[in-house]
């Protein structure tokens, strides 16, 4: 009897310790936390699946990569005390804004962000003049900037990009629903495919290098920017290319197809290759168009 009581007392100790550790662990993991060293601040937010992360930064770059599953970690390096970081979390939505104070300019108002998000997070980044870089994610991505935009190793997400002057580069984006609008920035797509790949450019050039895979709609349109598309000989496409005032060139031997417009030699071509799984439309008002064989 004495032995059994002693055993019960001994046995209950680790149980109590475990309960206490579990409880303190719950309390020790707040929803968000922040720490600062000099002008560098780190923010941590607990999130669940498909979290939304939005960052507005007028001056300075934003780099976003895949990190831990249920945590968003933001490191912000401010250039001066003329800019503050406004941060907040609401439900599964995290927002960070660089808040410029009176007298801030492009140098003193600059903030550099490095962000780690869960791989399935939906990310929205806005900047006036800072570079935006996003890689290795599977969620939806919306980017707005007048500076460089670089997106790589993305799969199964929507990628919506708006830029005025900055060049846009997409590399290795699979099964994407991609919409890019650019005024004068060049757009470069390397190994990009999906059900919709749409580029709307004004004077910026459009360069596509890929296989036009995925049975998708590829619509590359410009006002005066040249369009250059490079594809392998095995590409399966139904292609139409037209330039109202520019020249068109085609390296492929296409099966002729019916078109609803009058085809003028040197300014339009249309036809199919393989099973014509993907639709490719290359339209420019006055830019040159070249469909190149890899």
């Amino acid at each position: 009897m004495k032995n059994s009581q002693r055993f019960a007392k001994v046995a209950i100790v680790p149980v109590l310790i475990a309960c206490s550790a579990f409880a303190s662990g719950e309390n020790a993991a707040p929803d968000k936390s922040a720490s600062a060293t000099g002008g560098k601040k780190e923010y941590r937010f607990k999130v669940s699946r498909h979290a939304s992360v939005t960052i507005d930064n007028q001056y300075g770059p934003i780099l976003v990569k895949a990190g831990a599953d249920k945590e968003v970690v933001v490191t912000a390096l401010t250039n001066s005390d003329k800019v503050e970081i406004d941060e907040g979390k609401s439900g599964n939505r995290v927002g960070m804004t660089s808040h410029l104070l009176a007298g801030a300019d492009s140098n003193s108002g600059r903030v550099e962000y490095e962000v780690l998000v869960p791989v399935d997070a939906n990310v929205t980044l806005r900047s006036t003049s800072g570079q935006l870089h996003v890689e290795r994610l599977r969620g939806d991505i919306q980017l707005e900037s007048s500076s460089d935009i670089d997106v790589r190793d993305i799969s199964s997400g929507h990628v919506h990009i708006k830029t005025l002057n900055g060049p846009v580069t997409l590399t290795n984006v699979r099964d994407g629903h991609i919409e890019i609008t650019s005024v004068s920035g060049d757009v470069v797509l390397n190994s990009v495919n999906g059900p919709l790949v749409q580029v709307n450019s004004n004077s910026g050039k459009i360069r596509y290098d890929g296989d036009f895979g995925g049975g998708g709609d590829y619509n590359l349109t410009s006002h005066s920017g040249d369009i250059e598309a490079t594809a392998p000989s095995y590409a399966s496409i139904d292609v139409t290319a037209r330039s109202e005032q520019g020249k068109v060139e085609n390296d492929f031997s296409l099966h002729p197809k019916h078109t609803t417009f009058l085809m003028k030699a040197g300014s339009a071509f249309a036809g199919t290759m393989g099973e014509a799984a993907s639709s490719v439309k290359l339209f420019s008002f006055s830019g040159k168009i070249h469909l190149k064989k890899r």
Binding site: Q58, D86, A102, G109, K162, L164
Partner: protein
């Protein structure tokens, strides 16, 4: 009464339901009837957007800039309970979708009117494009006003926005010319939509900049 004559009275017709002498043409002409119906819807929706009786956004900008310079609204932002977006941005936020919707509606209407004009046997091809009258008066923010906004918000970006606006307006002109000469052409339709989408983006990005 021809479609061209009818369109001269469009503003009065949209505002007033009973203009008996114009009703006869409306009953006969399905394209004018559709146009009037669409414009009434847009006019009605635009009124709803303005229901808050907000003053011009520039008034808010100037007030906010003045308050910041005085250091009067800094304290509110340094409180621990910060908001995801500043209130001033919310005040202006309704302008962004409104402007985008308005620009796209105008683009669509213009394109539709271009198509109708080209197809209608009662209109001569060399007559002035009546749709131009719709666009000249409709956008709430003209380009010059937008550039003033940009000068206030991001002075360094003003020249860049000016160049971009010129490029986009050139695109719109070319696209509309192409659509007018060949209204059923897929590429021409795409140019019109894309050109107006670019203009909507310019307005959206200009108005969405945080204030200094």
């Amino acid at each position: 009464m021809t479609c061209v004559e009818f369109e001269r009275f469009l503003p009065e017709i949209i505002e007033q339901e009973n203009l008996t002498d114009k009703q006869a043409h409306l009953k006969e002409c399905s394209s004018c009837s559709t146009l009037v119906s669409d414009l009434r819807v847009i006019s009605h929706e635009a009124r709803l957007l303005q229901e808050s009786d907000e003053p011009n956004p520039r008034v808010w900008n100037r007030i906010e800039i003045a308050l910041r310079q005085e250091g009067l609204i800094r304290d509110a932002h340094t409180e621990s309970t910060r908001q995801l977006e500043s209130p001033s941005r919310w005040r202006l936020a309704w302008l962004v979708p409104a402007m985008a919707a308005l620009l796209l509606s105008i683009g669509f209407l213009k394109h539709q009117r271009d198509s109708n004009t080209a197809q209608s046997p009662s209109v001569q091809p060399n007559e002035p494009a009546t749709v131009a009258a719709v666009s000249d008066d409709s956008p709430r923010f003209k380009d010059e006003e937008l550039l003033q906004e940009v000068s206030l918000r991001s002075p360094a970006m003003r020249n860049s926005y000016g160049t971009d606006l010129e490029n986009v307006n050139a695109y719109i002109r070319d696209a509309e010319t192409a659509a007018r000469s060949n209204p059923n052409d897929e590429a021409a339709q795409r140019y019109v939509i894309n050109a107006y989408e670019q203009k909507a983006m310019l307005y959206e990005m200009a108005l969405d900049r945080p204030l200094q």
